[in-house]
């Protein structure tokens, strides 16, 4: 069944969309888009490390992304630089270091375009296993920390005062972000992962009035984007990442129409 590369890509993409849907909502709510971007940029370094040390790509990306997240937290504590400057610093320097290291690894032939924008041909049966088990673990953990994470997203002090331990939830969420980037890097590409997190969630925001609805619509949006994106990628021979993101962009634009309609109805 998984012999066909396209089926593999489809199954992988659907697994990723199930995870990026709910996580993406928190990225939007907590204003973490640039944070996600930074982790994704650092993933290139993770990929080069995987090749040099012959590690699994997902594992190595996960380690590097978590490390970058830790460094970020330390820098935030120790310097007076604003958060976005620190994020920019880490994003671009880790991308630069990654590219330089690739330059040195002349003995390996890299498909840079594939790394940056995703490659459906690259998805193996092992990747499927990583995506689906990794994804299931991520969702399970997210379910467990949902209450404190959501409460502290609404108001940190309320969550803290009423005994929900928001700091721990935040730390765990950071690790989940690194994990989702690790499992989706091959498919979506490191430049476009944040789009996969944000765009379906943003689309869902336009059409929902409660947090649960937003999560559900965000998942549905992600699944549709993957299906539409992959079929068009096959049809027009385009990279998988950009095709999926374009599909989600189209869904987002459709959700804007919905807003206009509801505003008209109100007047």
């Amino acid at each position: 069944m998984f012999d066909d590369f396209f089926i593999r890509a489809l199954v992988a993409g659907l697994g990723i969309a199930l995870v990026t849907g709910p996580l993406g909502c928190f990225v939007v709510w907590r204003r973490l888009s640039y944070f996600g971007d930074t982790l994704a940029h650092s993933a290139l370094l993770g990929v080069t490390m995987a090749y040099t040390l012959e590690l699994n790509i997902a594992l190595s990306v996960f380690i590097i992304s978590s490390l970058i997240a830790l460094i970020l937290i330390q820098l935030q504590k120790k310097t007076n630089l604003p958060g976005d400057a620190l994020l920019g610093l880490l994003a671009h320097s880790s991308l630069a270091v990654g590219l330089v290291v690739i330059g040195f690894l002349t003995f390996i032939r890299f498909d840079i375009m594939g790394l940056l924008f995703g490659d459906i041909l690259a998805v193996t049966t092992d990747d499927l296993l990583i995506i689906w088990t990794g994804g299931a673990v991520i969702l399970l953990v997210l379910k467990l920390i949902w209450k404190p994470l959501f409460a502290s997203t609404v108001n940190y002090e309320l969550a803290e005062a009423e005994g929900l331990n928001p700091d721990r939830a935040k730390a765990i969420f950071t690790i989940l972000m690194a994990a989702v980037i690790a499992i989706s890097i091959k498919m979506v590409g490191l430049l476009l992962i944040t789009g996969m997190l944000i765009i379906p969630a943003a689309m869902a925001r336009n059409i929902s009035d409660s947090p649960i609805k937003m999560v559900i619509y965000s998942i549905i949006g992600g699944l549709l984007s993957v299906v539409l994106g992959l079929f068009s990628s096959l049809e027009f021979n385009t990279s998988s990442g950009p095709s999926i993101i374009m599909a989600s962009l189209i869904l987002f634009m459709l959700s804007l129409l919905n807003i206009k309609q509801s505003i008209k109805l109100k007047n």
């Binding site: 959501f150 609404v154 108001n155 309320l158 005062a161 005994g163 409660s210 947090p211």
Partner: protein, 248 residues
């Protein structure tokens, strides 16, 4: 809960310093089951800070705080809800604990905002939101209720009704309440213990003791002191919702 003395939360010589400046220091107080402790004091005197110390929101404090309950309801002084969150009143009611639908309805009815249950939180007026905040805090049947100026922005009749509700809750739930209020009338009618803050505890005791205290007089003026002594004589009945008068 500490068994012998019903204490829910206790501050021992507690203080908090931010950016090298003391927000409040040397606060000792205890909130017991079924009792209302009120913090009064001018702006910037450390009332909210003291509440946050008691709640454990501030971590690196001087002195110590002993908390004997985890069932806490908190109405913060200011709270802003982000527009990026699609959240209705009923979602907000479930924020920190899962609560049965009928309990939610009951709490929202008590504070007079049941009709807003499915409204988006971002569309409420200041006073409506304040009522929702109070409903959320009492809905989970807390043992300790911390109310930081809970009726700000609420209309005058609503204010009186809400304070009566708070008193009623303290009696029926038998929970301890830490109340911050600038309304000295309220302080007098409902409170068991008053702590007057001005960066430190300037005086504390029963409402009457505080009213007679000289430091209190210099802080709030002679007139405020008279408000309190007036109550000493008048406070022999309460007005119920239906307009009846109940003798104490």
């Amino acid at each position: 809960m500490s068994r012998e003395n019903n204490i829910l939360v206790k501050l021992n010589n507690a203080g908090f310093k931010q950016n090298g400046k003391w927000l409040v220091e040397g606060v000792t107080l205890a909130v017991e089951k079924g009792k209302i402790v009120t913090l009064i004091g001018p702006n910037g005197s450390g009332k909210s800070t003291t509440a946050k110390i008691a709640l454990g929101i501030y971590k690196n404090i001087e002195g110590s705080v002993e908390k004997y309950t985890n069932k806490v309801g908190y109405v913060p002084q200011k709270i802003s809800i982000d527009w990026t969150l699609p959240i209705r009143v009923r979602d907000f009611m479930l924020l920190t604990e899962n609560i049965k639908e009928e309990k939610i309805d009951e709490a929202l009815s008590l504070t007079g905002v049941i009709h807003l249950k499915n409204k988006s939180l971002g569309n409420l007026s200041g006073g409506e939101f304040q009522r929702v905040l109070i409903a959320r805090a009492i809905c989970k049947k807390p043992e300790l209720l911390v109310l930081d100026e809970p009726v700000q922005g609420v209309d005058y009749t609503g204010e009186i009704a809400l304070y009566e509700l708070i008193k009623k809750i303290s009696d029926s739930l038998h929970c301890g309440i830490l109340l911050i209020s600038h309304d000295l009338h309220t302080v007098m009618t409902a409170t068991d213990h008053v702590v007057c803050l001005n960066g430190h505890v300037c005086c504390s005791g029963s409402p009457m003791d505080v009213a007679r205290n000289n430091e209190y007089k210099t802080l709030f003026g002679e007139q405020a002191s008279q408000i309190l002594s007036v109550y000493e004589h008048k406070h022999d009945h309460v007005h119920l919702d239906e307009g009846e008068i109940k003798k104490n």
